[in-house]
């Protein structure tokens, strides 16, 4: 009986960050039991989206066995402590941080929001509850040169060169993790009588047979989309951005500061990302083409670049990208699972692309089906989990827009007011009366924790109807003050001891990072 068939081999179709990250995460645990092969085309360029990671990437790299020093040096990476949102609240002179570290007291379940509201005119939320906000102000690194790899004084992720990252992963997977690489083009998908994929046919290597197929072919989605016809659920009505223009720009000078957060600046028809690597700044404008054409977007991008004191590239050298925001109706069908842009893609507002790849590959690795009949159960659970996750990301991204006071264009008026998901509406109503806390969301492994919601809500200037401290609350004002003070003291200490992002990266280029 085919259904008791053991799952012994995996074929990953497509390289890029999605394919190679999946290969690495799977191989790190299963390389002795499962044969892992990746087929990638020599003719298809990787799109290289996702140049910002979450702190999860530290665990991912460690698990795969890539040393942090090697990663930093080979991927032109820099340290990222969170995001700064500029002019989102209103069209001018507004900015706030969403740092990676949790607000002080959050882990102990202490509500710092209500006491902060009393002093909100003196200090913004992020600076009140997180030292990291101060460090981002000064372009500091989140760690000392003497910290061992993957450790720091605050939670951090990375900015990186996606092409180089895929190359490093490929080198590591093939040389150290026994992943087999086939360079070829897939031209046909062969299925058995029950609909399972038997093999993919390649131009030069014939048929590649496997028990499980992973579709990492990007937005083309060769297997799940083209072969199985699983529908794409467009979310364009909720998140209107569907286009981007992107450029890579030189620093103003060789020793220019490297910001340790992603800077996201709202524009009349979308927003501009600004990601600083040691070697360059990656700057792009994601916008809604219903409201703005490519020419206008390029002009606004060039204006931003010039305002930054950088040399704007020629308009015709700026790359144009089109995308349809959304995700698949399901991600795992029969013996095929999609990971990466083949599964879903949204505007990179909170750098969700790479983290969704990590989460998907990790789930697959932790629940790897032993047999074909077990696979059906794993597939159902995977589908439920990741549909839920995509929806929560959509809620969270939409939150950035609905809290805005911008009215300068029809784009903002529409983005703020229309198609707010029911789940988000309910949360917003709840948070009129109490701040986000543990348990407000359904799962313990939510993509965005209630802490992230706090940073965005109060950063955007959300004003609640009324928060009241329970009169029998055990936390005294004095204890609250101690926590606020702890933040400023920690901030000051870090400002004194932490190197700048630039200085630390220069040091790492020279000396590496100690693994112990």
């Amino acid at each position: 009986m085919a259904h008791s068939k053991q799952i012994k081999s995996v074929l990953i179709v497509g390289g890029g960050s999605a394919g190679w990250l999946t290969a690495g995460i799977l191989a790190a645990t299963h390389r002795h039991e499962i044969e892992i092969t990746l087929v990638e085309s020599a003719n298809i360029a990787i799109i290289g989206v996702g140049e910002g990671t979450w702190p999860t990437m530290r665990q991912t790299l460690e698990k795969i066995g890539i040393a942090e020093g090697e990663f930093i040096q080979k991927c032109d990476a820099s340290f990222k402590q969170g995001s700064e949102f500029i002019n989102w609240g209103c069209a001018q002179s507004h900015s706030y941080y969403h740092p990676f570290s949790l607000p002080v007291g959050f882990e102990q379940g202490i509500d710092m929001v209500t006491p902060w509201l009393d002093v909100k005119d003196k200090v913004d939320f992020a600076h009140a509850v997180s030292a990291q906000a101060y460090w981002c102000d000064e372009n500091k690194a989140p760690r000392l040169p003497s910290d061992m790899q993957f450790a720091g004084k605050a939670n951090y992720g990375y900015h990186l060169n996606a092409d180089k990252f895929a190359k490093l992963l490929k080198e590591h997977c093939t040389e150290r993790l026994d992943v087999k690489l086939v360079v070829d083009d897939v031209c046909e998908v062969l299925a058995d009588s029950e609909g399972d994929i038997l093999a993919v046919k390649t131009t030069e290597h014939g048929q590649l047979v496997a028990d499980l197929f992973i579709d990492c072919t990007g937005s083309k989605s060769l297997l799940l989309g083209e072969h199985f016809g699983i529908p794409w659920l467009s979310q364009k009505h909720v998140l209107k951005n569907d286009s981007a223009v992107a450029a890579q720009v030189s620093h103003s000078e060789a020793h220019a500061n490297i910001a340790s957060c992603t800077k996201s600046t709202a524009q009349p028809f979308g927003w501009i990302w600004d990601i600083a690597l040691p070697t360059r700044r990656g700057i792009g404008y994601t916008f809604a083409c219903d409201y703005c054409d490519f020419e206008e977007a390029k002009q606004q991008l060039a204006n931003y670049i010039t305002e930054q004191g950088l040399a704007a590239p020629a308009l015709d050298s700026i790359r144009e990208i089109k995308f349809n925001p959304g995700f698949r109706e399901k991600f795992w069908h029969n013996n095929c699972v999609a990971i990466g842009m083949s599964a879903g893609f949204l505007e990179p507002l909170e750098a969700s692309a790479l983290v969704m790849i990590e989460l998907s590959a990790q789930y697959l690795s932790e629940n790897f089906p032993k047999t074909r009949c077990m696979m059906n159960v794993v597939a159902n659970r995977f589908n439920a989990k990741f549909s839920y996750r995509w929806q929560r990301i959509i809620d969270f991204l939409k939150l950035h827009y609905v809290l805005s006071n911008r009215e300068d264009t029809l784009y903002w008026q529409t983005m703020r007011a229309e198609h707010i998901p029911q789940s988000l509406q309910e949360l917003l109503l709840l948070w009129q009366y109490q701040p986000p806390k543990h348990g407000d969301l359904d799962y313990i492994d939510e993509v965005f924790s209630p802490a992230s919601y706090q940073y965005v809500l109060y950063g955007m200037g959300f004003s609640p109807a009324q928060y009241q401290r329970a009169s029998a609350n055990v936390i005294t004002q004095q204890e609250i003050n101690t926590l606020f003070k702890q933040v400023t003291q920690n901030a000051k200490r870090g400002l004194g001891t932490l190197p700048t992002n630039r200085d630390l990266l220069t040091n790492i280029a020279k000396f590496g990072i100690s693994t112990i």
């Binding site: 040169p145 003497s146 910290d147 790492i508 020279k510 000396f511 100690s514 112990i516």
Partner: protein
């Protein structure tokens, strides 16, 4: 603030250096950098550890002199109580600086002796003179020169030593509880890994002279007890 100057026999002809050991002359340090070539001599007096440099994150060897900031348990009213004193202490107030020179039309930087004029050892009244009345180097300064040269060579030697220790995974975090004091950020040799090294690895370490350094470090750890006793007698 330190005030470093390139040493020469005109500017510094009248300078004298106080050479006695005392806290007021800058010897009140609880930790100081040492180099592998010193290990054999120092191991009978001091516990040798490894520590990361704050600026570069690179490992370097140190000896522990005390447990609290500015606490040097080797320092007594009658001087420094040990047979050998680390070169990084003896070199004070001199240091190696680099000067840009032209060589075949190309700029090269060469090591040269510098002096920290703000150091409490520097004066014009008493101590060892730097230059003879004819402007030649005094015996004292010749000795300083050779100390600085040893330190200069020690840097590259040290780098090779730690590259090798890291490669063989021979470093581990040292947990030291000295009474109520807990010292952090120190590393030592992982004896488990050492005992399981392959023949090839041992051969290689021995050929480079690193195996001897490793055993000197292990032997030096006994001095920690001596240091704790000295602390208790305070």
């Amino acid at each position: 603030m330190s005030q470093e100057q390139l040493l020469d026999n005109i500017t510094h002809k009248d300078i004298k250096i106080l050479t006695q050991r005392s806290a007021s002359l800058g010897d009140d340090v609880s930790i100081t950098r040492v180099f592998p070539s010193e290990f054999a001599q120092l191991q009978s007096d001091y516990p040798i550890f490894f520590k990361k440099n704050g600026q570069t994150g690179q490992f370097e060897a140190v000896v522990l002199l005390g447990f609290n900031e500015r606490e040097n348990l080797y320092l007594t009213d009658s001087g420094w109580r040990a047979d050998n004193i680390p070169l990084s202490i003896l070199r004070q107030p001199f240091l190696i600086g680099f000067v840009e020179k032209q060589q075949n039309g190309m700029p090269v930087s060469e090591p040269a002796v510098h002096i920290d004029m703000s150091h409490p050892r520097v004066n014009t009244q008493e101590g060892e003179a730097l230059f003879t009345s004819q402007g030649g180097m005094s015996e004292y300064l010749q000795n300083v020169n050779s100390i600085l040269l040893t330190i200069h060579n020690g840097h590259s030697q040290s780098q090779a030593f730690f590259t090798s220790l890291l490669k063989h995974e021979l470093l581990e975090s040292a947990l030291i509880n000295a009474g109520a004091d807990r010292l952090s950020g120190l590393y030592t040799i992982n004896e488990d890994t050492l005992s399981r090294l392959s023949d090839n690895a041992l051969f290689e370490l021995n050929k480079q002279g690193f195996l001897q350094h490793i055993y000197m470090v292990l032997a030096s750890l006994g001095q920690l007890r001596k240091l704790v006793r000295a602390k208790e007698q305070l």
